[in-house]
Every structure is written in C-alpha cells, then in structure tokens.
C-alpha cells in the first residue's frame, strides 16, 4: 500500500527547536498555537500539558494510536507517511511535562506498522536520549474501548480495559495514579509543525469514505462547504446523509453546509475525530443504524449496566424495526431507551452510543416510521 503524504515531514527539526526551549516555554507555545485534541473531545492540548506538568508524581505520555472509530483512518495515514512527526510530538510533550516514560498504544489492527514506527523511533533516539526518555510500544489486542482515555490507562496497566471515573482526569491522576498526558496521533503529529511555524489550527484532517469514488484523508479548512469536498471525492449516486462515524451521529447531506464544529453540533451531531461517511440514496438509514449498533454491541465493555444491557436491547429494537416487525410503540420505547443510555452510561462511549439512532430519528424519522406497523 502506498499512501500519499499530506502532512509536512518535520524530520526532527520541530523537536530540535522545542528542546532548545524550557518546558514552560514549550507549554506556552503550544497553548498559544490553538491546538486542540484531535481524538474527539477537542481539549486544548497546551492546557492539558500544563495541568499534567503541575501535578505531582512521575509523569507519563501516552500516544493514543488506538484509532478505532469506524470510518476513521487519518491516524493510519499519519503513521504510515510521517511517523517521525508523531515521535517528535511525543518527545516535545515529554520535555514539556517532564516525562521519562512514554507509550505508544498501537491498535492491534495496525500491527503491520510496527516496523515503520520502530524505524522512526530509532531515528529519534539521540533526541530521546537527550531528555532521558524511554518510549515503548504497547500493541492493543482488539478493543474499541481502549481509545477512551481512561480505558487506555487500564489497558496499559494490564487490567481489563474498562473506563475509570473522571474526575480525576488522567492529566492529574493517570497511569499508575501519576499525571499522564494522553494525546491522539494527529494531535502529536501537529506539535512539531507548531515549532516550525507552519501549524494552522483551522486546518484539520478528515477521513472521508462511504459512497464516494475517491475516498481518503482530506485536509480541510474550517468553514469549507461539504459540497466542495465532495467535488473532489466524487460521490457515487445521490448523497443523502452524512454519518460522522459510529458515535458522531447522522445528518442529512447539505452541500452548502460549512464544516464547523458548531454547524455540525446544531444538527445534533459530533465531528469528534473528523470522520465523514457519505451515505447515498440507495441505502436505508435504518439498516445503517443496525450496522452501527452491531458494532457497539460488539464493542461495549460491559462495565456499566446501561451500555452493556442497553446496547443489546437497542439492537433488538432496530432489528425488529428493520425486519418490519415493530410497532410505533416499539419505536417510542427505543427512543426512550436511547435517551436513557445517552445520559446514564458510565463513560463517553456509552453516552455517545445512541447518538446515531437519536439523530437518525431526528432527521430521518419517516424511514423508521415507514417500517413500523
């Protein structure tokens, strides 16, 4: 597989500049850059580092390379084209918060990147030695929940990767109870660019797939119209809906909609990790929801009852609706169940699980009603 490079290759230059600054200066630079987490929650990266730096104890950096959100593959592209940028990001973060140990948590599905990443680490070794940083790779073994920033801690510690109660946040009490920065691959890959002066917070990577001829990773400027992007990606059939991954919700396709967090939020959805799946007129939204819900049933960790039992019951309802065996009463009950799971679940995975159904019911209700008796 050859992948086109869409990120600037920093070639250790960014880290070189950063290491010549004091940790406080580095944090200040990152804070001022406007960089926010690209894994989903969008927390200001510099602030996260600052909180961790100020917390007592040994410090850890974790690079979250457990890109599991369906329809998301931008981190894969980064790891395969500019893995060194990510290592640089880790080095800079370690320098900023004073970490001597860092982990790359690589999802098992990306196991085949190991040689590439190891090679990049080797290249960066002199810089790592300079700040006495030890970097290990932990390879995941197939669990979506490990992308959650507290579950990843339990996973590295060898426990069942169930989420932890927040607060305390990992930046205060993370790995082994010590302050830990958990940053996504894309976030860390951006960090060296800040020090090279070529980082633009308005630009972000977006994984585009679904009913298009040319799926792939696009760098999009905030505010760009979705229709313009699709001109490049060339839709197959007539685009009907946009699905923002499994946990980002589904909304009607509107070529004029400018891509901003706010615009997407207004429609009940969540841009999170920058995932866009185009759905065309030939597909049923109910069936799409069924496929997404199957994913969640497979990936619910089972820690809290709401997600464990809720995911299963939601799938039962959708299957019944999809098979034309449900009544309107069932549909209402499904909606009530979704509302329950979205507020009552323990972690973010559970709480965002019903979003695809809730947004589908908001925007495409008639498709569900048509299938109900």
């Amino acid at each position: 597989m050859t992948e086109k490079k869409i990120l600037f290759d920093s070639a250790l230059k960014g880290a070189g500049i950063a290491l010549s600054k004091t940790p406080t200066e580095v944090i200040e630079v990152v804070k001022n850059s406007g960089l926010r987490g690209r894994g989903g929650a969008g927390f200001p990266t510099g602030l996260k580092w600052e909180i961790a730096a100020k917390s007592q104890g040994e410090h850890y950096i974790i690079c979250n390379a457990d890109e599991g959100e369906p329809g998301t593959f931008k981190d894969r592209l980064i790891l395969s084209t500019v893995p060194l940028n990510v290592i640089e990001g880790i080095i800079i973060a370690s320098h900023a918060v004073g970490a001597k140990q860092a982990y790359i948590y690589l999802r098992g599905e990306y196991n085949y990147f190991l040689p590439k990443i190891r090679k990049a680490i080797k290249k960066a070794r002199p810089l790592m030695e300079k700040i006495e940083l030890n970097l290990d790779i932990v390879v995941g073994q197939g669990a979506y929940i490990c992308g959650e920033e507290t579950a990843i801690l339990n996973s590295i510690e060898g426990h069942r990767p169930e989420p932890r109660k927040r607060p305390p946040y990992p930046a205060e009490k993370g790995l082994y109870g010590s302050p830990t920065v958990v940053n996504n691959v894309e976030t860390l890959a951006m960090v060296p660019l800040i020090f090279l002066g070529i980082f633009d917070p308005k630009k972000r990577l977006c994984s585009l797939s679904g009913d298009v001829e040319k799926p792939g990773v696009f760098e999009i400027l905030e505010g760009k119209q979705i229709g313009k992007i699709l001109e490049e990606a060339k839709p197959i059939g007539i685009p009907k809906a946009i699905c923002f991954g499994a946990s980002g919700g589904i909304m009607p396709y509107d070529p004029c909609m400018e891509i901003t967090e706010e615009n997407i939020k207004e429609r009940g959805c969540f841009f999170g990790s920058g995932t866009i799946i185009i759905v065309n007129h030939t597909h049923s939204i109910v069936e799409l929801c069924e496929s997404i819900q199957k994913f969640f049933v497979h990936e619910s960790c089972g820690y809290c009852m709401s997600c464990r039992e809720g995911s299963k019951r939601m799938l039962e309802y959708i299957k019944r609706i999809s098979a034309g065996k449900a009544t309107m009463k069932d549909l209402n009950k499904l909606e009530e169940l979704c509302n329950f799971v979205s507020v009552a679940s323990f972690c973010a995975l559970g709480r965002s699980m019903p979003l695809h159904i809730l947004t589908a019911l908001r925007h495409f209700r008639e498709e569900f009603v048509r299938k109900c008796r």
Partner: protein
Amino acid sequence: MENKKKALLLNELGKAQKREGRLSKKELAKIAKKVCMPENEVFSTATFYSFLTLEKRAKHSILLCNCPAEYLRSSDKISKYLEKKLKVKLGQTTKDKKIYLGMTSCIGLCDKAPALLVDGKPVVNVTTKKIDELLRSLK
C-alpha cells in the same frame, strides 16, 4: 519497575497468541509470573480482547471489518461470498481447522473498502475474484 512489567502484559499476550494460536493455561501462568500479576487477572484481561483466544481457532484468520463505511461499500456481499466459499458462518472455523472467518471492529481501511485483515495483514478493495485468489493462497 513493577509498573513497567505490567505494561508488557498486552504485548506478551499478543506474542503468545501469535506463536501458539491461543493462550493456554500454562502460557497465561507463565506470563502472569513474568509481569508480576495474579493469574486470575491476566486471564480476565485476556478474555476481554477480541484478538486473544483461549482455544485455538485455525491456522489462518480472515477478519471482516464491521464498520458502517464498509457496510455502505457492500461488505455484506463479500462476507456472504466468504461464508459460501468456506461453508461457515461468521465467527466460525472451517471444518479442516484451516481458516477462521470472523468479524472485527473497524480496521481503519474504509477508504479502501471492502477490506479484510488476513492473518493481521490488510487486503484492500476486495472483490470476489480477489477472494478466490486469496483462498487459493491460504490452502
């Protein structure tokens, strides 16, 4: 120091799974000792992950991606074709114990859908023709 050992657990489990095709009791005990954790917890952790198994599944594994983007690109056709060809259902192993056909959560290849992970390596833009070739190579 002990903490660093624990962080090895997942890698150790993954390596053992790859080597033996499963995690035997003996192997789990060995790993538990190595990482200084109770065997019981190592077991419990291992049963959580979908790549780790206690029983040997098959020589080869073909994993289908269960993500909606794949669904949109007719991954169901591919899975049905595989089921027909291998004469098994998803989640089962062929009679000759050669191939396990399973489902995994998104493998991050939605831009090259439909895609498969065959023995951990990606096979992209899959067509029925490609599957025929693939199955021949796995025999």
